[in-house]
Amino acid sequence: MAFRALLTRRTLAAASGLGPNGGVATSFRGLQTFSLPDLPYDYGALQPAISGEIMQLHHQKHHQAYVTNYNKALEQLHDAMSKGDAPAVVKLQSAIKFNGGGLSDLICWVMQAGGGEPPKGSLGWAIDNNFGSVDALVQKMNAEGAALQGSGWVWLGVDKELKKLVVETTSNQDPLVTKGPSLVPLIGIDVWEHAYYLQYKNVRPDYLKNIWKVINWKYASEVYEKECP
């Protein structure tokens, strides 16, 4: 899907000015920038688990801001690198990590397009093996998500090397790879307050309980089967 193509992180084509590799991102000066992809469903499609208002704000305001700032940071990085300005390059790292991580959370839109039917096949079997049952997994993820202080994400990921499922939390917009280089995300739940505040106020556990109704297990199964055939 063109959508998936956007999600792969292209490396910077630096001063050597490599042309773009095709794909939907625009590029100038050999630099690939990103644009906000559309949701594969209506804003109101996930109600009543997540209200249309939250979806619209989250997508059009928050994610748009991440995309804009990421592009800005990339441009500044490109400038700094071509000028050899090492302190500036280092300073931009946190902006890139934050906003670029925000981009990686665009995956969450795909992850939440499902009807919430539980996983079957190899992923279902792996969950039973690692956690006991899907319910136990849900309890674990909800507990970790509720206990996370401040802003962050709770993930179900698969370790490519060890072929194991893991539940991890990351803070702010840190992507799952910061917890382990061989971790691939299967399910990600945004527990930043903006993801649920208008509907659930401060009752994060309620949001976590309800979000499972719209989790896209099909996507998770696909990714799992790709990583652990």
Partner: protein, 265 residues
């Protein structure tokens, strides 16, 4: 508790005349026996022993309109901060090493020099929010005066410069956290400091003067994702320079701001 229920026939009859007739009829009524109502207001013994309480802001919850709505304050103070207080009290129930501290001391002790204990989050957030409510007032904003203004101009160049720095810090803080104007004890100067989640400058022994909550729950209901508008509303209309002046006056008892820099020969 019981109650008398007046027999309906006393009231319904149109032939009744008020005054003596009525009383005579009342006396002849067969009143039902005293009824025992179930006691709806019984006090159950509370299982949580309260150690710290929820302190009210020094103004009514709708006093900060239109910059901070009553609804936001009700959720932020009434639910979030109350949640922190109750969470803290529940945690302290299990751990009697932490009995008997004042809230300030508890925050410093549970910070544990950078390795925070589980109680730190709740304790620090209670402290932070109390400080935050007191940093604001209805009809706030404007400029500081006299000695405070002089100190700001000395350490930031100008008041506008300070304001820009403060706003920039608030906008560049990733995730959840707080922005502070602190008086640094060792450097003996004012600085703008950002902290994340629940951390606050008293753990580094500095003296905070202003705090601004930039957790999303602090502004989401009124401003949605527009943190810039919220921060500007705070600086222009909410921050209480009276309180800040009082705080720096107290701080000068601990930090000698007037010490002249005597050059070493």
């Amino acid at each position: 508790m019981g109650s008398f229920s007046l027999h309906s026939s006393c009231l319904a009859k149109p032939t009744l005349r008020w005054s003596n007739d009525c009383f005579q009829n009342l006396n002849s009524l067969k009143l039902p026996a005293l009824q025992r109502r179930p006691n709806f207001h019984s006090r159950k013994a509370s299982k949580v022993l309260a150690f710290y309480g929820l302190k009210s802001p020094p103004y009514k919850l709708d006093a900060l309109e239109p910059y901070m709505s009553k609804r936001l304050l009700e959720t932020h103070w009434g639910e979030h901060q109350r949640g922190y207080v109750e969470g803290l009290n529940k945690e302290l129930e299990k751990n009697d090493i932490l009995y008997g501290y004042t809230l300030d001391e508890l925050v410093k002790v549970t910070y544990n020099n950078g390795n925070p204990l589980p109680e730190f989050n709740n304790a620090a957030q209670v402290w932070n929010h109390d400080f935050f409510w007191e940093s604001m007032q209805p009809g706030g904003g404007g400029m500081p005066e006299l000695g405070l203004l002089q100190q700001i101009e000395k350490d930031f160049g100008s008041f506008t410069n300070f304001k820009e720095k403060f706003i920039e810090a608030a906008l560049s803080l990733f995730g959840s956290g707080w922005v502070w104007l602190v008086l640094k004890r060792r450097e003996k100067r004012l600085e703008v400091v950002k902290t994340s989640n629940a951390v606050n400058p008293i753990v580094w022994d500095d003296i905070p003067l202003i705090s601004l909550d930039v957790w999303e729950h602090a502004y989401y209901q009124d401003y949605k994702n527009d943190r810039g508008k919220y921060v500007n509303a705070f600086m222009n209309h909410l921050v209480s320079w009276h309180v800040v002046t009082a705080r720096i006056i107290r701080a000068e008892a601990f930090v000698n701001l007037g010490e002249p820099k005597i050059p070493v020969a």
